[in-house]
Symmetry: C2
Subunit: 437 residues, 2 copies
């Protein structure tokens, strides 16, 4: 029998504890699959005494994850601390430098320092695996890095944040406001006390940055992603989407264009009959378009202790089996710089919701501005203030919903500047992009 | 630079030619991803002179794939010949014995000889990769063998045959008979001249047998699969399914039960709102339920030259990168024998369509027989002979559609034996199983 692979686990929250329990439960199975035992030898967390429902008394304890990272009795450092700097960053660097393989679920860390960490891993001939960092239990990193290695990816899009998808699902199913659903999500533990990071799209952006790098061989760049969250979505938008044959999802999309790579995160109207529209609650999904395979879509749990531990354990099994690849699919030295395709050059269909003064000629003026910008309209719906189709002389404002044919972001913005200036609309226009997948 | 990985490709049909073209197109990309070039050095096919749209003049030619398999100038033998015996089998064995890695898309061969071939690969310390053998471009083999290695799989179900899914989609969308849709599929090249293998479920069974072995660590057993095809499905069944909130799909299902493992292939009514119901035309999908990850579902093209070549190339890239695993996830020596769970013990819901004589007491007699067998009914629909809900005194027979609650296969069969014997029904009952996914 080959020697056991010795694991040091830093961070004993939900995922860390689920991982330790899973390793114990699948002990025999894993030994068969890896050809060697896997054993946790040391752990690190902030508070030693806390009741976690599992015993770690028989394991080496380190108060400092950096000390664990370079401990002599571990082969793999499993980073489940979180955060894009501080202890997680220091410990991962220490582990790589001391020749330990690293498995991490930390998308924030990788979105910020992934290139440097991957380079460190390559220099020290160790693995840096991060399946759990993107889309929880869905094996998307391995699919991109290995299974689809014979493909040129054209586009990748995904529902990558369970909190947002839960809120959008509840808004539609229960006809509630964003604030009410956020409150529900917080009570269920699906959203943090400060939900900004999730609901404003930043978490999705971090995950997208990693997928983009794997898909296109470019340096990770999470700073140049166009990001909009879901907090401005209203029940009226949700209902309008449904009536028009769409459903609103927060998507991360990376797409190769002639001028560069478009990376964007925003609420998106996806066709009701497509794959992504069917993904409800906290489930995640990723859809890949590539030249050889066509489209492959994968869905599964985006978070949760066991599902995340499943991904972490898959990475550990790879190491136990001697599988070692450049963390980002190709050597960091071979990556090309990320060239951003400008968001103003984005092309697609748009949903626009306007609150229009009920004045003679207001609608004609708006339609005129769209025509001037070269935007052709696929659908126009006019509603009275209560959001119902107009049946009689309405109140002082009306809601107008426009769906455009394919057009450019700059045309839309130009038209909206004029429409605002003309003074026929009240408040801000709502703009939601349409996507074919 | 490391030496090129030299490929010998046997079989220059759609997939073989697509693979050679793909290798040429992604040349630079692949070298970056593998850290070494991939190059086709030799090929084999039945007819040398045939116009294939690609030139193979610069490659070594072998009339005999067995000669290619052991040629000195190849490192990997790519078997795209097909068939569960004869040249494919001989050539794969020759390749493994002479220390060549093997990549194959041949499910029939593996379903029959997979255990022996995997053992040969292990003995000779070479890879035997077969991503393309199951579900075309969907990376399900790697997901099962690697990504989900930390899980105990409970159930795997899939739409694994594009021909059948195309026919069922057309039957529903165009309201046509099985025969008409089969004819269409043949004209489009989606079905063979002799379609038995696909439409009677045998192809699905072969793929299922491989998934079962990977999922449960058992010896491949394709002989003990319960198999029913789709040729008995009528437009009436398709319509009834839709009215009852279901859609009919040919599924392969493997499920771990207390008494053994159930392997079954049959038309199945799946809930309209579930993942699998959304999979249309020639697309395939696989859904895995496992203890840690929960449910993961993957969909993509089940066939086609480029999509299959994508999977073959993924396997080749693994070899180029030095990834080598036991072909069936664990060593063949560690596999457990396949223990079949008896189909009569299967539990689930059932749809039953009966043509009932329009006699007083006929329906009461049928309902009584169901009750005697302990079967409780979730839904009963009675229609006149034209398939429309009854509105007046009908003709001499009526169609009765029953949906049962959870019950056992043996109870259903017992009830049907009595119902036939009672003489109230005309012709054979139609029986379609329900599945929750």
């Amino acid at each position: 029998m080959t020697d056991a692979l010795r694991l040091g686990v830093a961070g004993l929250g939900t995922v860390g504890c689920a991982l330790i329990q899973l390793l114990a439960r699948q002990n025999t199975l894993l030994e068969g699959r890896c050809g060697r035992p896997l054993s946790v030898t040391a752990v690190s967390a902030r508070t030693r005494g806390r009741d976690r429902g599992i015993s770690v008394d028989h394991l080496d304890w380190h108060d400092d994850p950096v000390a664990l990272a370079s401990a002599d009795n571990i082969d793999v450092f499993v980073e489940l601390i979180g955060g894009d700097s501080g202890p997680a960053d220091l410990a991962v660097r220490a582990a790589l430098k001391s020749g330990k393989h690293v498995v991490t679920a930390n998308k924030a860390l990788l979105a910020k320092h992934g290139g440097a960490l991957a380079r460190l891993a390559e220099e020290n001939s160790v693995s840096l695996n991060f399946e759990a960092a993107v889309a929880g239990g869905i094996p998307i990193i391995k699919a991109m890095r290995e299974s689809l290695a014979g493909n040129q990816v054209q586009r990748i899009s995904g529902i990558l944040n369970g909190t947002c998808n839960y809120i959008l699902t509840r808004m539609e199913d229960d006809n509630l406001s964003f604030a009410e659903c956020l409150d529900q999500a917080q009570q269920l533990g699906y959203a943090e006390a400060d939900p900004t990071f999730d609901v404003e799209g930043f978490d999705t952006a971090h995950k997208l940055a990693l997928l983009t790098s794997l898909a296109f061989g470019t340096q990770i760049n999470s700073a140049q992603i166009y990001v909009e969250g879901i907090s401005s979505i209203t029940p009226q938008d949700i209902q309008a989407a449904s009536e028009l044959g769409y459903r609103i999802k927060l998507l991360g999309v990376a797409q190769k264009l002639a001028t560069g790579i478009e990376q964007r995160v925003h609420p998106t109207m996806v066709p009701l009959e497509g794959h992504l529209a069917q993904i409800s609650d906290v489930t995640n999904a990723v859809s890949i378009d590539a030249d050889a395979v066509g489209n492959v879509t994968m869905s599964g749990p985006g978070a949760g202790g066991d599902a995340t531990a499943s991904a972490v354990l898959g990475d550990i099994v790879d190491i136990a089996r001697g599988i070692m690849l450049p963390p980002l699919g190709i050597s960091v030295a071979d990556q090309t710089p990320y060239v951003k395709a400008r968001m103003r050059a984005h092309e697609g269909g748009y949903y626009i919701r306007l609150t229009v003064s009920d004045r003679l000629g207001a609608f004609a003026s708006i339609a005129g501005r769209m025509a001037e910008a070269g935007i052709s309209l696929a659908s126009i719906v006019q509603k009275n203030r209560e959001g119902q189709p107009e049946v009689s002389n309405g109140p002082e404002t009306k809601t107008v919903l426009l769906i455009t044919h394919q057009t450019s972001e700059s045309a839309i913005r130009e038209a909206l500047v004029h429409i605002r200036a003309d003074g026929h609309i009240v408040g801000d226009p709502q703009l939601i992009r349409l996507e074919k997948a």
